[in-house]
């Protein structure tokens, strides 16, 4: 390991600009002649639009235009799409109601887009928006996940009877039922996975600029995947041909999934900037983010496990209702289906699994991926159910996990739910975590706490997740509309420094450093001479972007492959210069040498020769610049055990996290400092879901948690410092030996926290978020029992 290569905790190259206040986020960009947009949004959850009167707004100072759904459809700008098909139990594809970017006669959630007001200043646009008179006929609203598909409910979309998007059975139903019928013991649990608002700290924004000379639209947008935005807006929304649309995701202030999707606002801004021939910027206020960003989670489930007399899992059965919101977001259908049910095996060798997911429409914001996306929902269900199983069998939660783990010698392991896990040693991670958490000494600590009138609890969560998305063929078979390979270009300049273009996008993950380390390690170029470039469709050839913890596992491999090509070409150039056979050239530490001699030349000199090919191999192309694409052969399966220890005050219901220990398997770590940071953030997200964050609509469909005054984000004093360690295994499918790490914390943490609270109070279950009120009520009920 070098100081800057693979395995080194290199300080981040991107930090300096952020620390100096020189980051460049979408809202920071102010072109000359800039105009400002504000969206008129529905105040009602469900209403017919009788009339829109823009006359007062148009007469207001500074207002340039008020554009509505009629203008949009007149210009042929298509509706927003959902990119993944799920086949329902009737053999038909999921129900896909039209999702206009500006309402067409009807609004379906509070915050739904009705019109865009463009004015010279932001204040004038706001004033103008308030003057747009919309005549609504209010309809009853449906908001509750569990009951949205009940008979007699208000219908939201004509194409979706009973508000059902799909009903998706999956697995061996008969086999599971037979196993349940003959089981020694069946444990069951009803549970809710609470709806979350993703809340990247930078609100979404879009800046559209039209060049009438080149007829090109440039759209700066808060995106995790600029090329996907361009592709969708070109191919499906008819905004502009791909070669006349440039999408830039400049510095982006956090994503966590919420900036994957193609939203109404950015499409409308892109269209309006050409129509008005003026640059237009829209930046969400936080309240708008709450109302109109895609939300996450929102499942209501019943989970059951059949066991033999030793507590071995024989079969699992799951029924889930998943809320998709008012319309289908870009990947809305995929989250509660493929990203959820395919993870229901967890870390266990449960031979039979059957699940049924009914996905419903409600008059709420669209629901889509939020850090973890489907896998936190699956993990929470499995790991809570396992604790209930342990209690029902009178077993230690660690022991019941241990006897049901997929054994280390069974990898690669084909689960009964599609996925084939690449590598893992679940027992090793569990043992290490138990030690890190001081599990053996827990009873003494609990006793000491009890003397103080406090309830101590300890909770285990052994998670596995599928990320590194994804083999394109598998995605296609599942009804996905894209390939999920990644691309890279590694370009030497004649003076020997290197530019790395990646199709992934960094919005906090530190790619500019991690990827530079990869190239530094492989090509022997000093890290200061390597620049990683991403986020601009005009610079990188193509890319699928960053989500599903894929950037290193997929995008990193593409970079390594491009470096391989440079080394192969470099050998030809060096062989010619050193007057040796190509087969005798070896490459190490940035130097091409003739085997067994002291003849050598540096890679910088080779690069120079490639651009100044005065003495150069015949028929070899000049230039030192290679492209590579990488399509993985499997997902990546990070796994680990997280253990949370809490102290509950039964008098107040307050939960204090005393210690949080995490042992993860991410394969080989490129930059351990960055990996630890990803885990910290993920755990905090998961603790937020478990203890604090609740997105709530009332029965009229009003979002009653639409600001940071009402929706509780985790703050520094809600969290402890975390104890991390690793139990790596080698994933044979990944050429770099790496697994994804960005979502693991958010997946592993919620059940660890809730298992700890349930343990502390000696109750079967407690719903998230376990607020003081919820915990206090549970403590009182437990005390009375």
């Amino acid at each position: 390991m070098t100081d800057f290569g693979i395995g080194a905790s290199v300080k981040r190259k991107e930090d300096r600009r952020f620390l100096l206040g020189k980051g460049r986020y979408t809202d920071d960009i102010q072109p000359n002649g800039l105009t400002h947009a504000v969206f008129v949004r529905s105040p009602h959850a469900h209403a017919a639009i009788k009339q829109i009167d823009s006359s007062a707004a148009l007469a207001a100072p500074g207002v340039i235009a008020v554009l509505t759904g009629d203008d949009l459809s007149a210009d042929g700008i298509g509706p927003l799409i959902c990119g993944v098909t799920v086949t329902s139990d009737d053999g038909e594809p999921h129900k896909a109601p039209a999702h206009p970017a500006l309402a067409q006669g009807k609004v379906n959630y509070v915050g739904d887009h009705v019109a865009i007001v463009v004015a010279e200043t932001y204040a004038q646009a706001r004033d103008g928006a308030e003057l747009v008179m919309v005549d609504y006929e209010v309809l009853p609203a449906v908001t509750d996940t569990a009951t949205a598909a009940n008979p007699g409910q208000q219908q939201i979309h004509e194409v979706a009877p009973d508000n059902v998007c799909f009903n998706w059975p999956f697995g061996d139903k008969e086999g599971v039922e037979a196993a349940f019928a003959s089981a020694h013991k069946v444990s069951s649990l009803d549970l809710v996975n609470n709806r979350m608002v993703t809340n990247a700290m930078e609100p979404r924004a879009a800046l559209g600029e039209y060049n009438a000379g080149t007829e090109e639209i440039t759209l700066h947008v808060t995106t995790q995947n600029p090329h996907v935005h361009r592709l969708v807006m070109s191919a499906f929304n008819q905004l502009a041909p791909e070669h006349k649309l440039r999408v830039v995701g400049p510095d982006v202030g956090g994503g966590f999934g919420v900036k994957i999707f193609v939203y109404a606002e950015e499409l409308v801004v892109g269209w309006a900037c050409r129509k008005l021939n003026r640059p237009i910027k829209w930046t969400a206020e936080r309240t708008e983010a709450f109302l109109a960003d895609a939300h996450g989670r929102d499942h209501v489930s019943k989970a059951e496990m059949a066991m033999d007399e030793n507590g071995r899992f024989l079969a699992m059965r799951v029924h889930t209702r998943a809320n998709l919101g008012a319309y289908l977001s870009t990947f809305g259908t995929m989250v509660p289906s493929y990203l959820y049910a395919f993870l229901l095996a967890g870390q266990y060798a449960t031979p039979l699994i059957y699940s049924e997911v009914k996905a419903v429409f409600t008059n709420t914001a669209p629901v889509d991926a939020c850090r973890g996306a489907g896998r936190p929902e699956a993990t929470f269900l499995v790991e809570r159910l396992v604790d209930v199983c342990a209690a029902d069998m009178g077993m230690d939660p660690a022991e019941i996990r241990r006897i049901n783990f997929i054994p280390v010698d069974a990898f690669p392991y084909q689960t009964p739910v599609v996925q084939c896990y690449d590598s893992g040693d679940y027992n090793a991670a569990l043992n290490k975590a138990l030690e890190l958490a001081g599990y053996a000494d827990f009873p003494a600590r609990a006793e000491a706490a009890a003397v103080r009138g406090k309830c101590r609890g300890i909770g285990i969560s052994s998670y596995v997740e599928a990320c590194g998305m994804a083999p394109s063929a598998a995605v296609g078979q599942l009804g996905g509309g894209v390939g999920l390979w990644e691309s890279a270009q590694v370009r030497f300049n004649p003076t020997g420094n290197v530019q790395v273009f990646t199709g992934t996008h960094s919005h906090g993950q530190g790619h500019e450093t991690t990827f530079a380390q990869l190239v530094c390690d492989q090509l022997g170029v000093p890290i200061d001479n390597i620049e990683v470039i991403h986020g601009d469709t005009a610079k990188t050839q193509f890319g699928m972007g960053t989500y599903g913890s894929r950037s290193l596992a997929v995008g990193g491999v593409a970079i390594a492959k491009a470096c391989d090509k440079l080394i192969a070409k470099g050998k030809k150039i060096a062989a010619h210069a050193l007057e040796a056979a190509e087969g005798d050239i070896e490459f190490a530490d940035g130097s091409f040498s003739v085997a067994g001699t002291d003849k050598a030349m540096g890679i910088g000199e080779v690069a120079f020769n490639a651009y100044v090919p005065h003495s150069y191999p015949e028929r070899l192309e000049p230039g030192f610049d290679e492209n590579a694409f990488f399509d993985p052969t499997n997902f990546s399966f990070p796994a680990g055990t997280h253990i949370c220890e809490v102290e509950v005050d039964p008098e107040t219901g307050e939960v204090d996290i005393i210690k949080y220990s995490a042992v993860d398997d991410f394969g080989r770590l490129i930059n351990p400092m960055i990996v630890a940071g990803q885990v910290h953030g993920g755990i905090a997200h998961g603790v937020g879901q478990a203890l604090l964050e609740a997105c709530r609509y009332d029965s009229d469909g009003q979002l009653i948690t639409a600001s940071y005054m009402d929706y509780t984000m985790p703050r520094a004093d809600n969290l402890p410092s975390f104890d991390l360690d690793y139990a790596p295994t080698h994933p044979p499918d990944n050429p770099l030996g790496v697994k994804g790490c960005g979502e693991a914390g958010a997946i592993g943490a919620p059940p660890a926290v809730i298992n700890a609270i349930a343990n502390a109070l000696d109750v079967k279950h407690i719903e998230m978020p376990a607020t003081p009120e919820t915990v206090w009520r549970a403590a009182q009920t437990a005390a009375r029992a």
Binding site: R16, G21, K22, G254, G508, G681, A716, D717, G745
Partner: protein
Amino acid sequence: MKNVELTVNGSPVSGEVESRTLLVHFLREHLRLTGTHIGCDTSQCGACVVHVNGKSVKSCTMLAVQADGAEVTTIEGLAHGEELHPMQQAFMDNHGLQCGFCTPGMIMSALDIVKRNGNELDEATVRKELEGNICRCTGYHNIVKSVQAGARAMGGES
């Protein structure tokens, strides 16, 4: 429209603003000092923290006209030439930032914490004092370490 004159990062500046213009908008749009960010609309997130006459202020909560005559310091005013301020350096050394959006507010708050609590800060103090700044990326673990390290590095400076 009102004319405001103030000192920002040591330089005198002035501008014509509407009465309703917030200090953060004046900094970002009039002065193009876009290091100060806007992360919410309820004065909760702290991405917009600057110093006004030596005290940390959420600049989304103050009108530009209220800052007339004041001395304002933003994230752009901390470094000495090429050299990062010790608190900025501590955030780099301890991986106290990821996406960078909350970072300017965190650092401006951190300096205020040091000013009020001294250079030896325990973890509980830092966590309590950071309650007005929200970060979604880091889980605060490394921010807390950064603030402690930055405070120590600042020595007797503040």
